[in-house]
């Protein structure tokens, strides 16, 4: 009886929890400030949110300098280099999104204070996701990052279209969650435990049990929705178009990266023994996503929709290393991490330019980008850098991301990897076609209606632009920077 009543506190490592706790503290601070000062606090809100994100970077850095791997709760929560690198990526991307949002949210008819609360909460979910090595933690982290995202996507309350888009995103998201949960229940049933280590042991020792295959597939399908892989991508263009543009950037970059992080943890740790299921699934999904994303992007006339489909295709590129997960695990993880980091900055940069230009043109059509070079040369150059990066042209960063893909495929070897390499190459060429179309508009077409007034850039947009340009160029010229982070994150992900 006494044994049953006795309760031993779990061993908590406060330093390891520090990033999440800091972010939580700032989120609470923002909410309290909002309650007490309401409308008067609107000016301070983005600043507080930004400070919160930067403050959270401090414990991440101290944990990285400390260098020891930490686990808690029987391995469910892990701090290793992989998780630290990803946490930093989420926090910095979040900061750039906040910079992008400041003026947009203030000028539009939006609820401001709650916007920042929801964004910080979603980022907290992403930070939690980077450390989760257990089914329950992954699930809660996924919901913690998704539910604020559903609400942010519907933030433009006035338009029926945006509402419908938000509702569709929500319904598909919850549906995918339910499917993923069913898979998790099957996998849990086989393993008898929610921890990835136990799951890996159990799944690895079963030969082609249909229940195991089903469970794994359902979980992967749930996350395939999150990263907008084809055929689960149908929510993406409508949602991206209907949401406020900074939210679109947030979804396209941070939310997608979070889905990828979860996939890395699942595929490389939990499903490590089941490459018979995992590799063909990802081969198929990656090939479909790249191709269909690019083909549909070719037809788009609206820049936000084009970037949405481009994001879908880029997601496809990111999924390529998963198809060789068992043959070349180290290189594969490295490739995905590198791609995620570079993709985050180049995509955020592209969206920043879209935001800036829209301040003047009030339109999302690619035609409205005509003559950008004449009246806003800086923006035109910036956009050129980002589009070049997305297309994979040196010296902008994207080339190293694609290079990482090919390196992983080469390491794996074999017919399937070679086939996928061909698909990647072909898609890179196709993608260049629509990126070039935008470039052509900016550089060679006259301004629509001869309107050559300059674009008024606000301070925060300039800051966001500066950060993303510097990152994109730095990753392109000094690939060792991001390559280092890629290498470092590999060892721990595989070891854990």
């Amino acid at each position: 009886m006494e044994a049953l009543l006795a309760f031993s506190r779990p061993a908590l490592d406060w330093h390891a929890l520090a990033p999440e706790l800091t972010l939580l503290a700032f989120g609470t601070l923002i909410t309290v400030v909002d309650i007490i000062w309401d409308d008067r606090s609107k000016q301070a809100m983005p600043t507080l949110a930004g400070i919160g994100l930067l403050a959270t970077l401090l414990p991440v850095i101290t944990l990285a300098l400390d260098g020891t791997d930490r686990t808690m709760f029987g391995g469910a929560y892990v701090i290793d280099d992989f998780s630290l690198v990803l946490k930093a990526l989420f926090l910095i991307s979040g900061y750039v999104v906040i910079l992008m949002s400041v003026d947009y949210i203030r000028d539009g008819d939006y609820y401001e204070n709650e916007y920042y609360t929801l964004m910080l909460t979603s980022l907290l979910g992403m930070v939690m996701m980077s450390s989760s090595r257990d089914l329950i933690s992954v699930f809660v982290a996924l919901e913690l990052l998704s539910i604020p995202a559903y609400m942010l996507a519907a933030w433009r309350k006035g338009g029926a279209r945006s509402n419908e888009a938000g509702l569709k995103y929500y319904l598909m998201g919850v549906f995918a969650s339910a499917v993923m949960l069913y898979g998790m229940s099957l996998v849990y049933g086989l393993a008898g435990s929610t921890a990835f280590g136990a799951i890996a042991e159990e799944l690895g020792s079963l030969d082609s049990s249909p229940v195991a295959i089903l469970g794994i597939l359902f979980i992967l399908i749930g996350f395939a929705f999150k990263v907008s892989a084809v055929p689960f991508h149908t929510w993406a263009p409508d949602t991206y178009e209907g949401a406020p543009t900074p939210v679109t950037a947030f979804l396209a970059v941070a939310s997608k990266t979070a889905g990828m992080v979860a996939l890395i943890q699942l595929v490389f740790v939990a499903f490590a023994g089941r490459d018979d299921v995992v590799q063909p699934f990802f081969w198929l999904i990656a090939a479909l996503t790249m191709t269909i994303g690019n083909l549909i992007a070719l037809r788009q006339t609206n820049i936000v929709r084009l970037l949405a489909y481009s994001g879908v295709a880029q997601g496809g590129f990111m999924l390529v290393p998963f198809a060789v997960a068992a043959d070349a695990p180290a290189r594969a993880v490295e490739a995905v991490v590198i791609y995620m980091a570079i993709y985050a900055f180049m995509n955020l940069g592209a969206f920043t330019v879209v935001l800036a230009v829209a301040r003047k043109t009030r339109s999302g059509e690619i035609d409205s980008y005509g003559g950008l070079f004449q009246y806003a040369p800086g923006l035109a150059v910036a956009m050129t850098i980002f589009l070049a990066a997305l297309a994979g042209i040196p010296p902008a960063g994207g080339w190293f991301a694609k290079f990482g893909l090919f390196r992983a495929l080469l390491d794996a070897g074999g017919g399937w990897a070679a086939g996928l390499g061909v698909v990647v190459a072909v898609n890179t060429v196709i993608a260049f076609a629509y990126y070039a179309r935008i470039l052509g508009q900016m550089w060679f077409q006259p301004a629509p209606d001869g309107d050559e007034r300059p674009v008024v850039m606000t301070g925060s947009l300039k800051a966001a632009l500066a950060m993303t340009i510097i990152a994109t160029m730095a990753f392109g010229i000094l690939p060792g920077l991001v390559g280092h982070f890629g290498e470092v994150s590999v060892l721990s992900a595989l070891g854990g």
């Binding site: 309760f7 506190r9 469910a76 913690l144 609400m151 433009r156 419908e164 339109s363």
Partner: protein
């Protein structure tokens, strides 16, 4: 023997309710059939000796979530249900049947496979019976899963904040400024 009878009765309740949810025309009927399903599932939980979960199922699921559904349905007006309809591609009905059939294929798969590793267990696990059930749950929740637990509570608070913001009547009736993407 009693177990089997209880199971069959409860399963019948669950399935009737489930079919009612998807086939009823009137959303209020759907919600009430959902309550039926949830109650059937709560009975199954008791049969599986998960007493606390059965109580939570009734209190939270049937008692809060379905009530919320009914509030919103009645607020919006049952006869206006068609205003909530999303555009459905004509192919969707067929896709629905295909997927449902696929899911039933899963069922067949489970039935065939089910002799072996999945469910050999005969007896209910004796480790979580009666009063101990709550204790064991609490122990587990507050030691192994306390992190996820605390963040779930945060999730609930944020859901409330966001839901209030979204569902509020607009502060002013000014039109939304045209944004890129909305013009297309």
């Amino acid at each position: 023997m009693v177990d089997t009878v209880v199971f069959i009765l409860a399963a019948a309740i669950c399935l009737t309710g489930a079919l009612g949810v998807i086939l009823a025309r009137n959303p209020v009927h759907s919600a009430l059939m959902l309550v039926m399903t949830l109650f059937g599932i709560a009975v199954q939980f008791v049969a599986l000796e998960a007493h606390f979960l059965a109580a939570v199922q009734v209190i939270v699921y049937a008692g809060a979530i379905v009530v919320l559904f009914l509030f919103v349905i009645m607020l919006l007006g049952v006869d206006r249900a068609q205003n909530l309809e999303l555009s459905v591609l004509p192919v969707q009905k067929w896709a629905a049947l295909v997927f449902a059939a696929g899911s039933l294929a899963i069922l067949a798969l489970l039935v065939m496979v089910v002799k072996e590793p999945v469910t050999g267990a005969e007896a209910i696990g004796g480790s979580a019976t009666g009063d101990e059930n709550v204790r064991l749950l609490a122990r587990s929740l507050f030691s192994d899963y306390v992190y996820a637990f605390e963040l779930t509570s945060l999730l609930l608070v944020i859901a409330v904040i966001g839901a209030v913001v979204l569902a509020r009547k607009p502060k002013n009736v000014v039109g939304v400024a045209p944004e890129p993407g909305n013009e297309a």
